[in-house]
């Protein structure tokens, strides 16, 4: 089966670069506005607090639970929601306790005693200081991976490739964060992992397109960057779509069947896969053009490098023959 034919006419991506660019800028700006107005809804991992998962025998009496908790001063702002099914609820509260032997979950168990038969299935409690530390570490992790990737791509390609791929990456991550703000999803550690995966995934996609452009620069006769980009992106279109589809469907099964705990994680990845695919096809390459990438310059550099390599080999050969 073939979706994209071999003799698929070359698509004029670059001719539409401006329109796509405007669309992307609008998306990124919207995301930034969302992040500034609605803001990220930090979950307990980053903001501190307690989440208690309670499973009842039969339907959970969620109204009773709310009423009982409202009476307690310490749990006034607590939110009680169903968690995946009718018999399970999650209680989220800002309060934490430092005592090892009696903690928030013990208190909640006593408070809820009149509501029926239940089991506390899980308790997550994070002190505010730990949350700050985790957030800092998350940002550092992102920063260091970006720096590492910049260095690697500069080394393997050229600095403009590196910059373009990192800009495409920021585009993807910003939009993913914007969607988290839009849907007010609890941002916890797994979400951070998802964002970092998007980072890797989006790069993966972009690098494969860039690899083809690099190859195009060497093999395609034209020195027109736009033509080279159009042909290279068209050639990788089949691969980009296929891989994105398989990844998308796998993440979708994770979202649908992976259980409540992985919902936020897989949602973030779903957004990331879609945006990452879009950006590697439409966004990353035009940036290369806007950065004034010069085909002839790159060819000259490569030729010079090749010459140096040959020179070295020649000398080595001479050395081995004992002529030096």
């Amino acid at each position: 089966m073939e979706v994209f034919k071999y003799n698929q006419p070359i698509i004029g991506f670059m001719a539409n670069a401006k329109k796509v660019g405007i669309f992307s800028v609008v998306m990124v700006l919207t995301s930034l506005v969302l992040l500034m107005t609605k803001g990220l809804n930090y979950g307990i991992d980053f903001a501190g607090g307690t989440v208690i998962q309670v499973k009842y025998e039969g339907n959970a009496p969620i109204e009773d639970v709310r009423k009982l908790l409202q009476k307690e001063k310490a749990y006034e702002g607590a939110s009680v929601t169903f968690f995946g099914s009718d018999d399970e609820i999650a209680i989220r509260t800002k309060s934490t306790s430092k005592d090892v032997d009696v903690d928030v979950s013990d208190e909640i168990r006593t408070i809820l005693a009149p509501t029926g038969k239940f089991k506390i299935r899980g308790v997550d409690m994070v002190g505010p200081a730990v949350g700050d530390e985790l957030r800092e570490q998350g940002l550092l992790a992102m920063l260091f991976s970006i720096i590492g990737i910049l260095i690697y791509i500069s080394f393997r390609f050229e600095w403009r490739f590196a910059l373009a791929s990192v800009m495409a990456l920021m585009h993807d991550v910003t939009i993913a964060l914007g969607s988290l703000a839009l849907f007010q999803i609890d941002v916890n550690l797994p979400i951070l992992a998802a964002i970092l995966t998007i980072l890797g995934y989006s790069l993966n996609d972009t690098v494969i397109v860039f690899d083809r452009i690099r190859e195009g620069i060497r093999n395609i006769k034209s020195s027109n960057l736009n033509e080279i980009i159009d042909e290279s992106v068209t050639r990788t279109l089949s691969r980009t779509t296929l891989t994105s589809l398989t990844t998308f469907f796998v993440v979708l099964t994770l979202y649908l069947f992976g259980g409540e705990i992985l919902k936020g994680f897989s949602f973030t990845l779903l957004v990331g896969v879609v945006v990452g695919t879009y950006s590697s096809i439409f966004v990353a390459s035009p940036i290369l053009m806007w950065l004034n990438f010069s085909v002839s310059e790159f060819r000259a550099k490569e030729a010079a490098a090749l010459k140096r390599e040959k020179e070295k080999e020649k000398q080595r050969a001479m050395y081995e023959q004992g002529t030096m």
Binding site: Y6, V102, G138, I261
Partner: protein, 534 residues
């Protein structure tokens, strides 16, 4: 069929390796007797308690200062030096000399005996503070001691494989798998938190009748302290605040039972020095039938009248214990006191049923995702899809095998990582197959299309995998707990896919080449080149 080439051999070897070493892990749910190295399930999958504790080191600093104060007092009195206003406050020990002529003697004494203490002198007023080095040492010691003590307690409690480790500079990570009920969990937390400060204190019989009209401050003036009874905190005791002896002289503590009944009690033995002090005290106290209180963490457990001299250093604590309480107290006493109390910074507790649900849900997602990818690859690529699927299966086994061999921990995000790897691992084969198809369309021979296809695809796959690996490694370095698990499975998945998807499938193609029929490209590669293309 072609000749076996080294690539196929390596691939076969990797495949067998993967299957053999992942069997113990795959079988662990059905047969717990399988031997061999297994993947450890994370606490989020098997259930258990995870806590990040911090140590209140300021308490350790304070008690260090107190002991310095006591030692200064003892040394000065020993040398018949007159001083006044010896106080411990605001992290300082302060006292004033009365006689100017004593100053040189005091200077020398302090310099000799209190080496790591910073001493400031203003006329005859001495101010002693802990030097930064000593303070740091004291804090570190308190943390290390807490780690050791908690580890001992959990080991003695008898649960499978608890982990107690220092994390970062001043945190303690405690992980206890296999807790069944909330009550058990609380019992374990109580055991961890117990200060286990044991003291034997003499009852101040002379002033005892005024106890209930006495304030704490008044008691302090007499050098006494008022402590409540453990069973009923309205019952109080007036005790001399300097203990006869404390838990540091204890060598063992065991649960026993009363002779005429089955109420549990705790027997403990003292070391030689403790036994002597205890013997001397009981000898002095016996004629007046004075009482001696056993105090644990500021509560009086028992305060019997001393009838006769007790030698040998064996002592009993009675009280209204349940057998579990007696068991836990004995453990806490044996493992020693905590120098400073611990507090919770982070706690995650997962019930066994929640863990089982997570395993089920993520396994279902893994299987559905896997089956979808496998079917899709066959429909789209024909035989080439089957080759890619073989690599994918080998990849999964390899991930499990490598994790088993390293005894790595599989967490819920780790499971998600494996699911994601399935989606991404086919990528390499998609790239390769697309390249081979292109070359076939251009009319290349089978052999040339395969060799050239692998060549063309290699740099793209390599660069893409390395960049993803960079992100995964950083995530591993900066992540905690479950996130580390995610980064680990992704990293292993990428490395394994380099072996299976690039090397392995290449070998299979080379081995199959003589069999591939140029006229059946639809079957082999899922394409039908038009005649005109050639």
């Amino acid at each position: 069929m072609g000749k076996l080439n080294y690539r196929v051999v390596v691939f076969l070897f990797a495949f067998i390796f993967g299957v053999v070493f992942s069997i113990p892990s795959l079988m662990q749910s059905t047969d717990s007797n399988t031997t061999g190295k297994k993947i450890t399930l994370g606490l989020d999958l098997q259930g258990g308690l995870h806590m990040l504790l911090s140590v209140k080191t300021e308490v350790a600093l304070e008690s260090k200062l107190k002991s310095i104060g006591t030692s200064v007092k003892y040394n000065l009195e020993d040398e018949d030096i007159i001083f006044e206003d010896l106080k411990i406050s605001d992290g300082k020990v302060v006292f004033e000399l009365l006689d100017k002529d004593d100053a040189p003697k005091v200077d020398k004494l302090l310099q000799d005996k209190f080496k790591e203490v910073t001493i400031k002198k203003d006329a005859l007023v001495y101010e002693m503070t802990l030097s930064p080095e000593l303070a740091k040492k004291t804090e570190q010691h308190a943390i290390d001691q807490a780690v050791d003590t908690i580890r001992n307690r959990l080991n003695m409690f008898g649960l499978a494989e608890p982990t107690v480790a220092k994390q970062g500079k001043d945190k303690i990570l405690v992980e206890v798998p296999g807790i069944k009920t909330a009550a058990d969990e609380q019992r374990i937390r109580a055991l961890i938190a117990k200060a286990a400060h044991l003291q034997m204190m003499a009852v101040d019989e002379d002033r005892f009748n005024r106890l209930y009209s006495m304030t704490d401050a008044e008691a302090k003036q007499y050098g006494d302290v008022i402590l409540p009874d453990v069973a009923d905190n309205r019952t109080k005791y007036l005790l001399y605040s300097i203990p006869i002896l404390d838990g540091s002289m204890l060598t063992d503590a065991q649960v026993g039972y009363e002779k005429n009944g089955n109420r549990p009690l705790i027997n403990f033995s003292l070391n030689g020095q403790g036994a002597k002090i205890f013997g001397d005290f009981t000898e002095k106290a016996a004629p007046t039938k004075a009482r001696m209180a056993v105090v644990l963490d500021g509560q009086v457990y028992t305060a019997p009248h001393v009838q006769t001299r007790i030698g040998g250093g064996g002592v009993q604590i009675t009280g209204d214990f349940t057998p579990e309480e007696a068991h836990d107290i004995a453990i806490a006493l044996r493992s020693g006191a905590l120098l400073a109390p611990v507090q919770v910074e982070e706690k995650r507790s997962v019930g066994p049923s929640l863990g089982a649900d997570s395993i089920k849900a993520s396994s279902i997602a893994l299987i559905i995702g896997f089956v979808m990818v496998v079917i899709f690859m066959i429909i789209y690529y024909g035989m080439a899809g089957i080759v890619a699927n073989t690599a994918l299966i080998a990849n999964l086994f390899l991930i499990l095998a490598i994790m088993s061999l390293f005894g790595a921990t599989l967490t819920l995000p780790g499971m998600a990582g494996i699911v994601l790897t399935v989606g991404m691992a086919v990528d390499a084969n998609v790239i390769i197959n697309e390249r081979i198809r292109e070359l076939l369309h251009e009319g290349a021979s089978i052999t040339k299309a395969i060799e050239q296809g692998y060549n063309n695809a290699f740099t793209a796959i390599w660069d893409a995998n390395v960049t993803t690996l960079i992100a995964a490694v950083v995530l591993y370095a900066y992540g905690t707990g479950p996130i580390k698990g995610f980064a680990l499975t992704i990293s292993i998945g990428i490395l394994a896919s380099m072996l299976t998807a690039i090397l392995g499938t290449h070998g299979i193609y080379q081995w199959l080449t003589p069999k591939i029929d140029k006229n059946r490209l639809g079957f082999w590669f899922g394409i039908k080149p038009k005649k005109g293309e050639k």
